[in-house]
């Protein structure tokens, strides 16, 4: 915008016969160097300013009405929670088999008059599915050949039917616990879950059904929740094999409890459902050893590929936690930014600038203190990082695959839970908070749609919406097409004969490199079939094969003796990168933003090393900046740098790269595709241009 206006005003005096828009475009292209410097700088500055531009959150949906009713969660429910906690600890210690706790929970659930059943599944490992990036539904059930009792996971599920509701909608409450190694905090979280169920089983205001899933997270809580959700949204026919295992594993349980017939029943394995899910809460308790002055609540919301739940859901939890229960709300932040002195310095500078700005116009709400800025930056960084990674931060991510808004609420008490008073107060607070959140969602007539889905958090009560954070990104990638056009036109102008089709040669090179990158991205599928063991061997094999393919590609290119000047190559490469970045910004904005910060300067600056320039200093500067950018933008190098910067100590192994890539593809992260389909080919092409052998063949001043 700024550039346009600038161009507009400076254009006033000029008289040219073409249209204004064309004139403006020509002007921008003619001054592409200046434009790209200004845009890059503006983009990065605007990005750094995001914590300043963050707005306070507000509850957008009026129907939610959080905190308008007095909580009914009382000491009676605290007693219930305590009783279950003690029972779990006693029984869990007595019998170590995984199903004891599930049975106990079911007894309790039935006792309060709720429906209950067991959900049973066989865990299976995530595999590399090259074509399954956006469809998370994998329906190939590869059961182990001889399933044993131990390989099954049993979850207890309770359903409260709303007394006068029509059963169309439901709210899900998940409490993960580890059945093999049940910790005290696991037991407390189950206790809270049960006390909520016992409270809600006799309230009159319920309009949506409540489902409580006590998820056995022996093999990871995400997998458990995900498989339960898959069954919820699928036919959920218990297969023949599971029935055999049923009889083998649970026979003795059925026979020993004749008095529990009403608990066990004949249909305790029949999967029951309860309508469309409105929202889901994952509830966890973390017993920290160090003391704090207040109980605290951490909210995790990032689902796969940077999808976020509706901001209103976070708002309710935050509002009730802070204004009703007096909890301290935390959102993940990257500690490096909290400690970094340059951020602090930046914050102080911004503080001065904003106070100055406020003097100019007191209506501008830009004032920010240095401490706020530092904290905002650290939180924003973590928000962007987790969204960019594309890996969910908890089992709430599984719900997002079914368009259900979900958050993880992780409570930690101010001191150890073994203290009776601390525990009671803690249970009361958490119970009331969850009751309040459920009540708010229960009030909701429509699905969450009022508030934002695309946002970053800079504090628990501050957000940056899509309308604001797209601007820095837009400014940042704006010079790409301009520079591409400039390079293209300058090249076309110089060599006029058959030059108009020369760019096809460049496009061929770019296409081949992209093809190579695509093949490289699919290589792990082949590698996984090979008898390799260690991650480092995987990494080296992957790298070796990729480099081989790259060399072959170059041989093909050379054999066909393609000679297109580096300018055209750069121009086409920039266009490809711009298209890739814009596409990625739609799929996962954070990845595109971080990628753009690395790629855009590299793409704009890259020049053949052998190119003659006037002045030794300029040449040296160009060379060093090119080299530095080329190093930083290489994905493994970037990973290493990030690792050392953010204080991950310890030795760095080659195998880390493989593991990292494995995490990305096993979570269907689009970041994997971005890195290998857009970022890597771009980097290779830049390297190609940097090492371009034949300067001066086409580029003559």
């Amino acid at each position: 915008m700024a550039v346009k206006e600038e161009g507009d005003t400076s254009q006033q005096g000029k008289k040219s016969r073409s249209r204004l828009i064309l004139r403006l475009g020509a002007l921008l292209v003619a001054h592409s160097g200046l434009v790209s410097v200004v845009c890059c700088a503006a983009g990065i500055i605007a990005f750094i300013l995001l914590p300043v531009l963050a707005n306070n959150t507000y509850i957008s949906e009026n129907a939610l009405m959080p905190g308008s009713a007095d909580p009914a969660f009382s000491s009676q429910e605290v007693l219930d929670a305590n009783r279950l906690t003690m029972d779990i600890l006693n029984r869990g210690a007595a019998k170590a088999s995984g199903i004891e706790i599930a049975k106990l929970l079911r007894e309790y659930i039935v006792a309060v008059g709720a429906e209950s059943y067991y959900h049973k599944f066989v865990p299976r490992a995530n595999k590399f599915h090259p074509l399954h990036f956006f469809s998370s539904t994998t329906d190939n059930l590869d059961l182990p050949a001889n399933p044993s009792c131990g390989s099954f996971i049993l979850n207890a599920v309770g359903i409260i039917r709303a007394p006068r509701g029509d059963g169309k909608e439901t709210i899900v409450l998940v409490t993960p616990y580890n059945s093999q190694n049940t910790t005290y905090s696991d037991a407390v979280s189950l206790g809270i879950g049960f006390s909520i169920i016992s409270l809600l089983s006799h309230v009159t205001w319920l309009a949506k059904d409540i489902v409580w899933l006590a998820a056995d997270s022996r093999y990871g809580e995400y997998m458990t929740v995900d498989s339960w959700l898959k069954d919820y949204h699928g036919p959920a026919f218990p297969g023949e094999t599971s029935r055999i295992v049923d009889d083998a594993c649970f026979e003795e349980n059925n026979s020993d409890s004749l008095d529990h017939i009403k608990v066990e029943g004949h249909n305790s394995y029949v999967y029951k459902r309860a309508g469309t899910m409105a929202a889901a809460l994952v509830l966890k308790v973390v017993d920290k050893k160090e003391k704090e002055e207040r109980d605290s609540l951490s909210i995790y919301a990032e689902a796969s590929n940077g999808q976020m739940p509706n901001l209103d859901l976070i708002n309710i939890a935050h509002y009730l936690a802070v204004h009703r229960q007096g909890l301290r709300v935390k959102i993940g932040s990257i500690i490096y930014f909290l400690k970094a002195s340059w951020v602090k310095l930046l914050g102080e500078m911004l503080q001065h600038i904003t106070t100055l700005a406020k003097l100019l116009n007191p209506k501008w709400k830009l004032d920010i203190t240095s401490a706020d800025y530092v904290e905002g930056t650290a939180t924003l960084a973590s928000s962007i990082y987790y969204q960019a990674l594309g890996v969910p931060t908890g089992s709430h991510g599984a719900f997002r695959n079914y368009q259900v808004d979900a958050v993880t609420l992780e409570f930690s008490p101010r001191s150890s839970l073994n203290n009776e008073n601390v525990r009671s107060a803690f249970l009361l607070k958490t119970g009331r908070l969850i009751e309040g959140v459920i009540r708010s969602v229960n009030n909701l007539l429509e699905k969450f749609h009022q508030s934002f889905f695309l946002y970053f958090l800079t504090a628990p009560h501050k957000y940056v919406s899509v309308g604001i954070y797209m601007i820095p990104f837009g400014i940042l990638i704006a010079p790409l097409p301009i520079v591409a056009a400039a390079l293209f036109s300058s090249n076309n102008g110089s060599s006029n004969k058959d030059g108009s089709w020369k760019w096809l040669q460049a496009a061929k090179v770019v296409f081949l490199i992209h093809l190579w990158a695509m093949i490289t991205s699919l290589l792990p599928y082949v590698l996984l079939q090979l008898p390799l063991v260690t991650p480092s061997s995987f990494t080296s094999a992957w790298a070796a094969v990729a480099i081989c393919f790259l060399l072959i590609t170059y041989l093909i290119l050379w054999s066909s003796s393609i000679d297109c000047g580096w300018e055209l190559l750069k121009s086409v490469m920039i266009v490809a990168a711009a298209i890739g970045l814009s596409l990625m910004s739609v799929i996962n904005f954070s990845t595109a933003q971080i990628g753009a910060m690395l790629i855009v300067p590299m793409c704009l600056l890259v020049k053949p090393a052998r190119k003659q320039t006037q002045g030794v200093f300029a040449k040296a500067l160009m060379l060093t900046s090119n080299l530095a950018l080329l190093v930083v933008a290489f994905p493994p190098a970037a990973l290493l740098i990030a690792k050392t910067l953010f204080g991950a100590s310890g030795n760095i192994d080659i195998g880390d790269f493989w593991e990292w890539a494995q995490i990305l593809w096993s979570w269907n992260s689009a970041t994997y595709m971005y890195l290998l389909w857009i970022h890597l080919p771009c980097w290779v092409l830049c390297l190609n241009i940097f090492l371009y052998p034949c300067i001066g063949s086409s580029s003559k001043a």
């Binding site: 915008m1 346009k4 507009d8 006033q12 005096g13 008289k15 016969r17 204004l20 009676q76 007693l79 219930d80 009783r83 309790y108 039935v110 006792a111 309060v112 008059g113 539904t137 039917r161 007394p163 006068r164 509701g165 029509d166 059963g167 169309k168 909608e169 016992s198 006799h202 009159t204 949204h233 699928g234 036919p235 026919f237 218990p238 297969g239 023949e240 009403k262 004949h266 249909n267 029949v270 029951k272 459902r273 309508g275 469309t276 695959n401 079914y402 368009q403 007539l445 429509e446 699905k447 749609h449």
Partner: protein, 648 residues
């Protein structure tokens, strides 16, 4: 003619008034079989296994067709009579006899909450006739020619919606009702069925329903209907059933089925796990009202307490079958009569009814049960439990699944023969915007995909038509009785609607009305001993009818893609901007003379000025609104668009 008409009605009214007062003076209790009108009121109370109590009010009015009465009734509600024989005021003179809605059969139910088939029973007469889907359900059969049925139905929905203060008139649109052919086992073409799952039910629907009773809620059993207590229940279904035949006249059954939870004292931590102790209750504790006296217009007024056969079998085990005061429970006060069910299987126990006659004026009749021992039993289930759910994710497509899960309840039924075959009829209406692909129907029996022709005995599909017809699926399944589970799946696409086609609350999602699953070869009928002429109870007669066991599935909520409904505003502003730009440039092109302009430019080039003077001259020319304003215009438009974007 009109004057004559008015005079006549006035005279007639006076006559009725006089005769009414005389008869009430002369015979204290004149309500009898004379005039062929009758009214009875009955209340059935039944403890349910999950610590709740079922209360079923049954009010029945009958009007025998008699030529003398004309359109005047003593007891029978006129509003209803008009639905069936609506005559013009002058019909007595013999002129145009307009029969408005020739209804042969009509059932209208308003329901809040869901019937719990697992705990409250699925095969007894109450559940098969009074378990209804949430919201409003209406079906009617007509006695009019086929071509007139649709118009009659539309008028009927409007009449009923006015009568019951509800939006039944939404069933008028052809997208919301359908013509089932064999589900209701009735004549093929003259039935119409419609359901409004989202209709909220409240006192405003109950009040007009009560107004149809001769005593309203001022006397008799209806006085128990204390609004806060009955709307606090777990299930609330008010039903109106109308049958008219030439022989017996009109029978109007009004039933109200509610499931209430007696107060439980949650005093200690232990009480929570003692789920086996049933709460003791009485009429006054549940309804917060006392029952004193009956409606004087009612021929009979009685209260029945039913103990299910599983309780009775326990009582027989304890050695006191059929007694109302024993070691397990205490029924108070002493019943007037004990009515036993006769079961075709003599080895099993039968349910027992305890009858109370509600006649005492001054002493409240406070029927109640006091439980002495913890006791758990289960209600009789239907052989298969029907449930329905949505599958798939995303806002593009999905599938509907209906599953029938064996409850393993009818052991005798199972053991009877190996080649016994179960029949199930599935009736499913789907709104047109959920585009069901009926060819994708898959049927799984015990998790195995079946060949459709092996399982389906009869099928009738009416595909939906956009904005005209809902899709209807009627299906008769036949499968062996020993089957554990049956599942049907149907894929659908979610339609993309025009902005004005979205219903209110579109952001909640769209409802698919309940599917109906009936088991035509199972009947819920009971035979009672002692059912002589002295026990002339319409409720018991109702129980003895051969009703098909049926169950309704859940209402489904399909989330749809919805536009931003505030978008029209944005679209209007955007369109206006684009139009302004377009017309601006068009006018510019039309106005321009290129040759002239070039000449001007050349002459300008000749006397070229410096930058600043030219800017100054430009600005002054712009200020005067002279030619050259085009860039300024465009600049202003760009600025305004940007400003609009930022402001939004």
């Amino acid at each position: 003619m009109a004057a004559l008409c008015r005079r006549f009605t006035g005279f007639h009214f006076l006559l009725v008034l006089v005769s009414l007062s005389i008869s009430s003076l002369v015979f204290g209790d004149w309500i009898g079989d004379d005039e062929g009108e009758q009214f009875t009121e009955e209340l059935l109370l039944k403890p349910l296994p999950d610590r709740k109590v079922l209360a079923h009010f049954h009010f029945q009015s009958t009007a025998h067709p008699s030529p003398d009465s004309g359109h005047h009734h003593h007891l029978f509600p006129k509003a209803i009579a008009q639905l069936i024989w609506n005559r013009a005021p002058c019909d007595a003179v013999g002129h145009f006899m307009v029969q408005k809605f020739q209804i042969r059969d009509l059932e209208l139910s308003f329901t809040q909450g869901r019937w719990n088939y697992e705990n409250w029973g699925g095969s007894d007469p109450i559940s098969s006739t009074n378990a209804k889907p949430p919201g409003v359900e209406l079906w009617a059969t007509f006695n009019v020619p086929v071509v007139e049925i649709d118009t009659t139905w539309k008028n009927l929905t409007h009449a009923l919606s006015g009568l019951f203060c509800s939006s039944i008139n939404f069933l008028e649109s052809s997208t919301s009702y359908t013509t089932p052919s064999f589900v209701f086992g009735l004549n093929v073409s003259n039935i119409r069925y419609g359901a409004l799952p989202r209709e909220a039910v409240c006192t405003e629907n109950l009040t007009p329903w009560l107004k149809l009773l001769p005593c309203r809620d001022k006397a008799g059993l209806a006085t128990l209907l204390d609004r806060p207590s009955i709307y606090k229940g777990y299930y609330h279904s008010q039903k109106l059933r109308l049958t008219s035949t030439k022989l017996s006249g009109i029978i109007l059954e009004q039933t109200l089925t509610i499931v209430l939870q007696p107060n439980i004292q949650r005093n200690s931590a232990h009480s929570l796990l003692d789920g086996a102790i049933q709460p003791s209750w009485s009429i006054s504790s549940m309804f917060k009202r006392n029952l004193t006296g009956s409606c004087v217009l009612a021929r009979t007024s009685r209260i029945l307490v039913e103990l299910e056969k599983n309780i009775v079998s326990k009582l027989e085990e304890l050695g006191h079958g059929g007694s109302w005061s024993n070691s397990l429970l205490d029924l108070s006060p002493n019943p007037f009569r004990v009515i036993k069910e006769v079961n075709p299987f003599p080895e099993e126990s039968n349910s027992i009814l305890f009858e109370y006659v509600n006649s005492k004026e001054y002493e409240p009749l406070d029927v109640g049960i006091k439980w002495k021992l913890p006791f758990v039993w289960s209600s009789p289930h239907a052989p298969f439990h029907a449930s329905r759910f949505l599958m798939g994710s995303g806002t593009e497509r999905g599938s509907i699944a209906i599953s029938l899960q064996s409850t393993k309840s009818d052991e005798y039924f199972r053991s009877k023969s190996n080649e016994c075959r179960m029949q199930a009829v599935v009736f499913q209406v789907v709104p047109w915007y959920v585009k069901v692909y009926y060819h994708t129907l898959q049927i799984f029996i015990d998790q195995k995909l079946q060949n459709l022709s092996d399982v389906i005995e009869k099928i009738r599909v009416t595909p939906s038509e956009d904005k005209k017809l809902p899709g209807t699926l009627e299906l008769v399944l036949g499968y062996p009785c020993t089957v554990q589970s049956v599942a049907l799946t149907l894929d659908f696409d979610k339609g993309f609607l025009h902005i004005h086609e979205y219903p209110p609350d579109a952001n909640q999602g769209f409802d698919i009305p309940s599917a109906l699953v009936t088991f035509p070869n199972l009947h819920s009928s009971r035979i009672y001993i002692g059912d002589d002429s002295s026990v002339h109870s319409p409720l018991l007669l109702k129980f003895q009818e051969k009703n098909v066991v049926l169950s309704y599935t859940e209402v489904l909520l399909v989330p749809f893609t919805t536009p931003d409904f505030s978008m029209p505003y944005n679209v209007i502003t955007f369109t206006c901007t684009v139009l302004a730009l377009y017309f601006g440039s068009l006018l510019n092109v039309l106005r321009r003379r290129i040759g002239e302009e070039e000449r001007l430019m050349r002459s300008k080039d000749a006397n070229k000025r410096g930058l600043i003077p030219s800017i100054v001259s430009k600005i002054t020319s712009k200020l005067r609104g002279m030619p050259g304003s085009k860039p300024l215009l465009i600049f202003a438009v760009v600025l305004s668009v940007l400003f609009h974007y930022i402001v939004n």
